[in-house]
Amino acid sequence: MTDYTADEMMTVAAARALTDGSVCFVGIGLPSTAANLARRTHAPDLVLVYESGTIGSKPATLPLSIGDGVLADSADSLVSVPEIFNYWLQPGRVDVGFLGAAQLDRFGNINTTVIGDDYRDPKVRLPGAGGAPEIAASCREVFMIVRQSPRAFVERVDFVTSLGFGTGKGDRERLGLKGRGPQLVITDLGVLRPDPDTCELTLTQLHPGVDLATAKAKTGWDLRVSPDLVTTERPTDQELAALRDLTA
């Protein structure tokens, strides 16, 4: 069996989470790599939607940006940016919103705005919201792919750019959000899912060779662990070949 990196395991695990035939609103970077890997492996009819207005893109090479020509040329339908948000994302037509994050907290809230507690005088100015607040609000469910570290996985995000479960169960419903929120966080160490009772992100899966102590150490909050913790199946040779072909 082929050797692989932690990032490769993460991307493969993320790709596996996408069901064939479902519709995925794809953020650039790791989510796009995972979604395109899924299309090349078990989910050839996965529908990729990018916020640049491309619906049903089937890129032959991995796009570097959200606005690559290959996304337009291979799309079933190409629409304006206002239309992609208003007609396609907002009404809840999309099954999965697939996002990255600079900071993430135990309730799946996302920060991509500022590090530090003063918005007007930040320690680090991040790129900002992009499409994420409405992707996180409107998709039937949200998957995230984030490398695990105490800096990224924090007790409470410095700034809520995109809402996960807010302060816990019931917040999304109170705000009238239709989507179910973050249902899956795939990291380089394992997979977290919201606890059905509290919505707190809970470790339910460890990738092969990763020990629980590492996962806890790389989490900035007191990580809860599922009693049914399982080990991820390692990437198959076919998955790795497809991924390496894609990112070559």
């Binding site: 207005g53 570097l64 940016v81 206002p82 992009g130 409405e134 750019t161």
Partner: protein, 265 residues
């Protein structure tokens, strides 16, 4: 009817000191050449507007053209951060930069409202986020029929809009295709507009997916082949990804940026 003019003249007619101005484009068709001309002409106190401010905005900010940025995602796509933008926000260099920050959906709808001659737009947006705490330009609105509370954002009226397109005809009708983003809305939201084009042709033959802006809503057209470089023009050029990578290096410190800036002037 649009006036066809050289770039320098067109820019000086369209972009004025103190303007609220958008140079729009969603990775594709970014009007870099027009942005560089604005730097050369030494425009000041601009309120720069864009959904995805990228390298050209980093350059305008570093050159001291801007006092405010209205945006939803500021980065170097596929590379990382914008260092001049960060330096302005974190250190006020070369001048402080006021920020007004939205989501993409909010910005897109603000353009739509302005293009539609409405004072505001309604969306399902910003709910539960910290964004509304930072600007008065996000407000709740109640549906008069259902009582449901949604979010309103004000129209994003522009003094000037600058975009790049593939073609114009000799009357000044403009044609663009591929990913067309919010460019139509930006032009329709603006009091004055400039479109740089790859080429001026006798006849705009129809293209799949093309947006055509009739001459009577465009003020100036300037023929600037490769005017979107290092961005791209679908069917004319490809994205110069190396430039974006190099920009990361150039922009990292003020000295190397100054050297770059002297090269523009």
């Amino acid at each position: 009817m649009a006036t066809i003019a050289p770039l320098a003249q067109a820019v000086s007619q369209v972009v004025h000191d103190g303007d609220t101005v958008a140079f729009e484009g969603f990775t594709h068709l970014i009007p870099f050449a027009a942005g560089h001309e604005v730097i050369r002409q030494g425009r000041r106190d601009l309120t720069l507007v864009r959904m995805t401010p990228d390298v050209i905005y980093d350059q305008l900010i570093g050159a001291g053209c801007a006092r405010k940025l209205v945006f939803s995602w500021g980065g170097n796509p596929g590379v990382g951060s914008l260092h001049r933008f960060r330096d302005a926000v974190q250190n006020g260099w070369p001048t402080p930069l006021e920020l007004e920050e939205h989501s993409h959906a909010g910005m897109a709808n603000r353009y739509v409202a302005a293009a539609s001659g409405l004072p505001f737009a309604v969306l399902r947006g910003y709910m539960g986020t910290d964004l509304p705490k930072q600007t008065a330009n996000i407000a709740p609105i109640t549906c008069p029929f259902t009582g449901e509370v949604l979010t309103a954002v004000p129209a994003l009226r522009l003094d000037s809009a600058v975009i790049h397109a593939q073609r114009a005809d000799r009357k000044g009708n403009v044609q663009l295709w591929g990913i067309t983003g919010v460019q139509k809305e930006a032009v329709l939201a603006a009091t004055r507009s400039l479109v740089t084009v790859e080429e001026i042709v006798d006849e705009l033959e129809p293209r799949p997916g093309a947006v055509v802006l009739p001459s009577w809503v465009v003020d100036y057209v300037a023929e600037v082949p490769n005017g979107a470089h290092p961005s791209y023009a679908h069917d004319y050029s490809t994205r110069d990804n190396d430039y974006y990578q190099r920009w990361d290096e150039i922009s990292k410190d003020r000295e190397s940026f100054r050297t770059w800036l002297e090269g523009v002037a």
